[in-house]
């Protein structure tokens, strides 16, 4: 089962939702759609499901043109970010409904519903109504209904957004395990790069209705093709500093010079944008070629086991991602070290011209 989108456009009332997207999803693959709110993730999924039809372009499933085929005649399933279940049916009947409609034998239905319920830890609640369950359990019910039929494509539209972070962690681990043994195409929309990374597989980065990059998730993360891709696919976003290369030196803004690293010597003179991942900046020097920067703290956001430090000086704002808990006062001075050998370089148009050598270079 493969899914091919061919030069898809979708316009609604003069507004472009999807702009010339071509994408080929392989059988058995797990694909994350990554992008901010309104980047076109939901629109794209609705096109894949057949809930909407593209304005231009074709959709192929298994070599068959299904562009105009209605959702009822495609074998897909979908999980939404709201917890969507049939409120008047029990959890059991909710999960069983796609099978009943497909006229599966009663005994077979029973076996499969119980198997799925067991897997999703909702077996004790089969007789209850969805609204009597907690949010997490409601979403498990919705997932059960999506998984119980052997759909060719399963679409997840930010299914964990409305759950709290501990539940999200658990769901991610479980989802990965569930899909490891399936041969369907899974598509998972999310705004969080960390979620895409945790789930593995492939990632497609979307921005303003366009496909920015598609590839293996680690590949997209480590080797962004454009500055947009790098920005979308990092949380906190990658730090971008504009600079000018001349000879063996780089100048940031006005009169802030640094000698170029060995790797970067090959760059022709000109203006560039330098990208530093938040997690590569540290509080202690890691290597001899680190750039030392004196900054002032805006805010230290602490997430239990990690610290996101927002800092600035008169020229730039930076975000630093530190492991462990570090407490800082607002406006406290801090010295940071930026490793030059981990820097990405983009040209003025945003195309990548240098990838750190430990990631294989360009």
């Amino acid at each position: 089962m493969s899914l091919i989108l061919e030069n898809i456009d979708r316009l609604v009332g003069g507004e472009t939702y999807i702009n010339d997207v071509s994408l080929e999803l392989q059988p058995g693959s797990f694909n994350a759609l990554l992008g901010r709110t309104l980047s076109g993730k939901t629109s794209l999924m609705r096109l894949m499901a057949g809930l909407d039809a593209p304005t231009r372009g074709r959709v192929w499933m298994n070599g068959e043109d299904v562009t105009g085929r209605s959702v009822r005649k495609r074998n897909v399933s979908m999980v939404y970010q709201q917890f969507i279940n049939y409120p008047n049916l029990s959890v059991y009947d909710n999960i069983a409904s796609p099978l009943r409609l497909a006229r599966v034998k009663r005994r077979e239905i029973d076996r499969r519903v119980r198997e799925i319920a067991e897997m999703l830890h909702i077996a004790p609640f089969l007789d209850r109504l969805p609204l009597e369950l907690s949010g997490g359990q409601q979403q498990r019910t919705a997932m059960g209904r999506a998984l119980v039929k052997d759909a060719d494509i399963i679409l997840f539209d930010e299914p964990l957004v409305n759950l709290d972070y501990k539940l999200r962690e658990e769901f991610r681990d479980e989802l990965r395990a569930v899909f490891a043994e399936r041969n369907c195409i899974a598509v998972y929309a999310t705004t969080e790069p960390a979620e895409a990374l945790a789930l593995g597989g492939n990632s497609a980065v979307l921005h303003e209705g366009r496909l920015v990059q598609y590839g293996r998730t680690e590949e997209v993360y480590h080797r962004p093709r454009t500055i947009l891709s790098a920005e979308m696919f990092s949380e906190p976003p990658i730090n971008i500093i504009d600079g000018c290369v001349s000879g063996t030196e780089v100048t940031f803004d006005s009169g802030w010079h640094f000698p170029l690293d060995d790797d970067l010597r090959a760059l022709p003179a000109g203006e560039y944008r330098f990208g530093v991942r938040a997690s590569h900046i540290s509080l202690t020097p890691q290597a001899g070629d680190d750039i030392e920067m004196r900054m002032s703290v805006d805010l230290a956001e602490i997430s239990g086991s990690e610290t996101f430090l927002h800092v600035h000086n008169e020229r730039v704002h930076l975000t630093v991602h530190l492991a462990g808990v570090h407490e800082f006062c607002v406006d406290a001075p801090v010295t940071l070290y930026v490793p030059t050998h981990k820097v990405y370089v983009f040209d003025r148009e945003g195309a990548v011209v240098h990838i750190p050598s430990h990631l294989g270079g360009i």
């Binding site: 990374l197 945790a198 680690e218 805010l299 956001e301 602490i302 239990g304 086991s305 492991a323």
Partner: protein, 369 residues
């Protein structure tokens, strides 16, 4: 300005509570000091909203006392307590302008107009609402509305504390950190006691100097974010704080050796004695994924585990490990290549916690194992 103390406080929504399960808040003592920035953190249903409502005066506790600066206020309604509260969804007076919204609490107590103007302008300045003052509050964005509802608390100079009930729920993710910074700034400038209720560890740790973690109607730990991370007092705190949470290993003592399943684990002498002395069979060792040393080859004192899965999170990886029947997670940094197949783990003594009946037991560290 006030210190808020809770004395042997308990609350039940039932008329005749019997067992401890009937209580939304189990008996507790707690003090919020004047001028502190506090958070009340816990999963949904842990009783944190009940506690908040008791402090603000919307609920009267079943037992115990709520003391403001030593004065018992149990029966006082919210308006008599001089408490301000910011709700989950912005509560603003739609038909009024931003200015009138901010002036409202002062006008209600017949503050002279000049004084009202002075306070409103000052607070608007701090909240960066000055350009919006003439607008109808209805047309503001969610974050501006939330600032207005915060502002209504700040204009009063008699406010003893501001309570926040998940105030950033409806705020756009990109704007959240700016509002968090604003909150911190406001706290430093006005030196008002602030209590921030949330289920999100990021919100709590970012805002608060000290966090009270609630679990099943009780505060299980009250400490700084660093304390919660490094020395969680209760297994729930270990699990709840950090992503992923703390690993817990059920251990037994056999042939004088500490064992996890069948594997023997080398521990400090002090730890071994403490385990021996444990009054219960429910004994666990806790260690954070960040502190587990993962080696590809056998090392001295290392314990062998199988590698189940590796999650590459970009600049670090989370390795799922299996040690007998126990699953563990360990964090491996980018510079280190993650192991495949088998791994050898070491648990640094200083990072290993002992939990008996779910609570942490302090042990004396000896020189080195």
């Amino acid at each position: 300005m006030a210190e808020i103390a809770l004395k042997s406080l308990a609350h039940s929504y039932l008329d005749a509570p019997g067992s401890p399960q009937d209580y939304a808040i189990r008996e507790m003592d707690h003090v919020w000091h004047q001028g502190g920035a506090y958070a009340l953190l816990g999963p949904s249903g842990c009783g944190k909203s009940t506690l908040l409502n008791i402090i603000s005066g919307l609920l009267e506790p079943t037992r115990g006392d709520v003391l403001f600066d030593g004065e018992r206020v149990n029966a006082l309604p919210p308006e008599a307590r001089n408490i301000a509260q910011v709700f989950q969804f912005p509560v603003i007076y739609d038909t009024m302008t931003v200015y009138d919204n901010l002036a409202f609490p002062l006008r209600n107590v017949k503050t002279p107009a000049a004084r009202v103007h002075e306070r409103v302008m000052e607070v608007a300045e701090v909240l960066e609402l000055t350009p919006q003052l003439k607008r109808k509050a209805k047309n503001l964005t969610a974050d501006e509305k939330q600032k207005v509802s915060m502002g209504r608390g700040l204009v009063r100079d008699d406010v003893s504390a501001i309570l926040f009930d998940e105030p950033l729920t409806v705020i756009d993710p990109q704007l959240k950190w700016k509002l968090r910074r604003k909150l911190k700034e406001i706290h430093q400038r006005f030196e008002i006691t602030m209590v921030y209720v949330t289920h999100d560890q990021l919100e709590a740790s970012t805002f608060a100097d000290k966090i009270a973690v609630m679990y099943e109607g009780q505060v299980v730990q009250f400490g700084t974010p660093r304390e919660l991370f490094e020395t969680p007092n209760h297994t729930f705190v270990g699990y709840f704080i950090g992503s992923p949470g703390m690993n817990f290993l059920e251990i037994t003592l056999r042939d004088d050796r500490v064992r996890v399943g069948d594997s023997a684990l080398e521990v400090e002498e002090g730890m071994r004695r403490a385990i021996e002395a444990a009054p219960s069979a429910n004994v666990k060792l806790g260690i954070r994924p960040e502190f587990i040393e993962v080696h590809e080859a056998p090392v001295a004192g290392g314990i062998e585990a199988s590698v189940e899965h590796i999650q590459d999170l970009g600049t670090y990886a989370i390795v799922d490990l299996r040690l007998g029947d126990t699953s563990l997670k360990a964090r491996v940094e980018e510079d280190q290549s993650p192991p495949t197949g088998r791994a050898y783990l070491r648990f640094p003594a200083a990072r290993l916690g002992l939990y008996v009946d779910e609570y942490r037991v302090e042990i004396d560290h000896d020189e080195s194992p």
